[in-house]
Symmetry: C2
Amino acid sequence: MNLAHVRIVGSGLIGSSIGLALRTHGIEVTMIDSDQRSQAIAQDLMGMVPSTKEVDLVVIATPLSQYEVVIESEYQRNLNSSFIDIGSVKVKAKVEALASIGDLSTFLPSHPMAGREVGGAESARADLFEDRIWVYDSAGVNEKTTQLGLELISLCGATALEMESAAHDQAVALISHLPQAISSLLAAQLQGAPSSTMELAGAGLRDTTRIAASSPALWREILTSNSAALKPLLAQFASDLQVLIEGLDEPEVVHELMAAGNRGRAAIPGKHGGSARSYTYLPVVIEDKPGQLAALFDEAAAASVNVEDLTIEHSPEQFTGLITLALSADDAATLHQHLRDKGWRVHAPR
Amino acid sequence: MNLAHVRIVGSGLIGSSIGLALRTHGIEVTMIDSDQRSQAIAQDLMGMVPSTKEVDLVVIATPLSQYEVVIESEYQRNLNSSFIDIGSVKVKAKVEALASIGDLSTFLPSHPMAGREVGGAESARADLFEDRIWVYDSAGVNEKTTQLGLELISLCGATALEMESAAHDQAVALISHLPQAISSLLAAQLQGAPSSTMELAGAGLRDTTRIAASSPALWREILTSNSAALKPLLAQFASDLQVLIEGLDEPEVVHELMAAGNRGRAAIPGKHGGSARSYTYLPVVIEDKPGQLAALFDEAAAASVNVEDLTIEHSPEQFTGLITLALSADDAATLHQHLRDKGWRVHAPR
């Protein structure tokens, strides 16, 4: 354990959450933000006092557009420190660091896979990174800096994963930036639709457009900074879309697209990593009032089954809800019988 | 109440669910399917005995591709009956009915907004339509047929909504068929991605591709049958996508797309109809083991707050979970204080 004093530049969600996590381990944190109010909130959250210790590690947690100015000034101020950044695009981070510092030996590019739709110090949580993957790229980075970075990742409760920066940028372009762009484009099509149309919207539309509520200011930077990796993916999507448009009257063309979607969807790992787990789903109709969910989960506990996931589907205009519980096949059979015996409106698992 | 004997042709999810709903009201149901096994399951589910009463209403619940043959033969067999269909595309249904029957006076086109990702009689539920919107188009339909159709909708517990067929097809093209096509195209891009990439996937990718797991056979028919309404929407999406591709290095272009996505997303109504309700979100970290959710909902009940919705977010590789509860602002404040007092790992509402 070598970290004693960490300087965090940028008091947004990620920077502040790192600060909170380090504080729970008793490490001194100096929180810096160009916005005085944000800095005050973050410092208040962490109950900090000015440190007299030398800074071991500087965390660059600002928007990518500020990297050039911030890295330059932080490097001049902390010539003997190591540096780590947490930006969403790693090739760009390396380029900026190289321009400001001259070499990358004291700069560890990294990226915690733990964003949220909300931002700011007030949304920060010490446990934001718990059990999340945290990618880092130690190519050309000296041993001391790499070890300090890994210590920070470990103290945040994350799982460090070494990945080359260009490979990281390719990966997030596919699993994060492409879905964001497509979801935003899809939601944009809803603008101006009559309310009589929107009233027919169901869970499918809601799910596909959830992330379209994300911050334009944040995503503008991410998408433009990773345009080299993202553009070919958007172009391939556009090409496939053109095939669909031209073949929309041909059942075989549409079928093949849908089947390709099935295959791609099946490639997404499920809970707890590994390949997608298949659950058995148990539908239960409940009244939509306080205590009903509690009573349902009491039954699950009484039957000693583990609810792996659940969805709540509300019916329009009426206050009833359909709860679909995801369980193992055995647990679903057990709970189905248990709930039936207790008089619940439970339907057959599937 | 005039329905005494309803004949349902097609024992899939919708047809069988209608049958179950009618049976709970004591109405005689004859269930027909070209597939003998499906018909047997459906009849068994409903505990039916052969009816001697004349058929009041024939429900066409087959795939659209079978309409031509089925409507023709059902019309010849039940010359004095009324007809209703439940297909996803209404203009096509009218065209087929007109060709088979000669006029639309005894044929009510309708569409219950209650699909699921699973199909078949074994997934049928008597409450599938409870509190759902059920669109119908009575233009040119005689009074008796319209009343019988409305009675069926009412007995299924749905809310009848009159809508012109072309307007319906336009509406579902936007809120259902476009999201389905785009989600499938998005998921298709994941094919062949390395597992090291897929392991970084988060909730955003999962949500945007959930409906890409839907049945190709079912959706092939829906998309091709509504291609006239869907094609211009796909073309507009393609045009907007092209703007993004060409402007991907320009922050203003990307910002405007994201902002348009924000606006479109905000147009989706929330729970219980009406415009989208804004909830306050309360994050709680729990251990992922039986009884934890029950204990949490017990606390919500003890605090007399109404949980409007929730999401469960699992951390990879470790068995902890983040529950985000959606509540009214007042309830969120109440429950936050309550859970803190009880020692839960609850974070500030936002």
